[in-house]
Amino acid sequence: MSAQEILELQKKNCIFCKIIAKEIPSYEIYSDEKVSVILDINPAHEGHCLILPKNHYQILPQVPLDLIGYMFTIAKKTSRTLLKSLGIQGTTIFVANGALAGQKAPHFMIHVVPRQRGDQLFKIPKNSISAEELLSIKNKLVGEQIIQQEKQEIEPVKQEIKQEEVIEQKHVENKPQTVEERIVDPKEESKKEIQEDVVEKVEEELNSENKVKENNKQEQKKDTNIDDIANLFLN
């Protein structure tokens, strides 16, 4: 089976695609041509909502930029709705991107969770870190070129999104490629190192998917990393 076929199979079996197609009933709060907002039937708190893109994307980097932006405006409105309708005093907007981050289903979604004081959810711990380590992380994450280039790129937000759409159409089946193009990364070498490292680790978790991975490697060498994160769901 090709990677494409596996993805098709995954869509076919995706419970959220079925919900969107109304093959499975749900408690819908809002719906338009791009997204659907439903109540989670196994909520963290009652009123827990899921923002689902109507198209099947496994993880965040595969979602087109304009849709990412749109989904979060819907998350904002959902949060606002919950604050008003439930008389609560806080919400959390939560995204788990990849199985290791706690993503349970292979259909990308945003959670909007009503919060209660002291419920101990989504606690972000604070740890100390040395100035040296911070600096070394910063250097890993950015080169000077990146900041420059990003500045130019980001200024016209709309334009960027438009370009993205064009690219999107060109590479319909290779969505992650647009992600790569989006990440300004002039230093190919260091990236490859890390990616190979990741590939090794992920391969251990995914013995059965080696074939797929080989295909991916050939077709879109640059994207192994993102693809592997997404493919964790193919098991």
Partner: protein, 182 residues
């Protein structure tokens, strides 16, 4: 009114580890990170909670979060990322300025954002759906005339030194406001 702690950062960025910046927002490494690589995406304009931000700004912020997330995948070899916005004191928001957390994840990193799923019955879900829909329609149509969400906003300048009394007072005020809602 004292300046917000986050606005102080905006005005003194050189002292922090900024990894991305544009006209609307910037992203910097958390000085007390949950995990190494913990990044905060912050709008430059002082805004307490995300509901107060324009759709355009929200769109932009999360496109930047995606960018950051992708960089964390590629450059730090993260195996996953979380994007978390805690809205309001009850949600654990501890700064009076919108902060979006982007966290790189790896195996056994000590982070746990799992919840115990509740089993909601059909009746509960149906009544919740009705209750929520009363409010959702105008909000999603952008015809929401009430801009004042009664959420507990963290006090201006909640720092490690700010007193609990101050927060308590604000809460009462907010709770009173809440009671006035229909």
């Amino acid at each position: 009114m004292t300046e917000c702690d986050v606005c102080k950062i905006v005005n003194n960025k050189e002292a922090f580890h900024v990894i991305y910046e544009d006209e609307i927002c910037f992203a910097l490494l958390h000085e007390s990170p949950a995990v190494p690589g913990h990044t905060m995406v912050i709008p430059k304009t002082h805004t307490t909670i995300i509901e107060e931000l324009d759709d355009k700004i929200v769109e932009h912020l999360f496109v930047v979060c995606n960018k950051v997330s992708t960089i964390l995948f590629d450059k730090l070899g993260a195996h996953g990322t979380n994007v978390i916005v805690n809205n309001g004191i009850d949600a654990g928001q501890d700064l009076p300025h919108v902060v979006i957390n982007v966290l790189p994840r790896s195996e056994n990193d000590g982070l746990d954002f799992e919840w115990t799923p509740k089993q909601s019955g059909q009746q509960v879900l149906e009544s919740l759906q009705k209750k929520i829909q009363i409010y959702s329609d105008p909000i999603f149509l952008g015809k929401d005339e009430l801009p004042d969400i009664k959420i507990q906003k963290p006090e201006q300048s909640i720092t490690k030194t700010s007193s609990n009394n101050k927060i308590e007072k604000k809460e009462n005020y907010q709770i009173n406001n809440l009671k006035r809602l229909p």
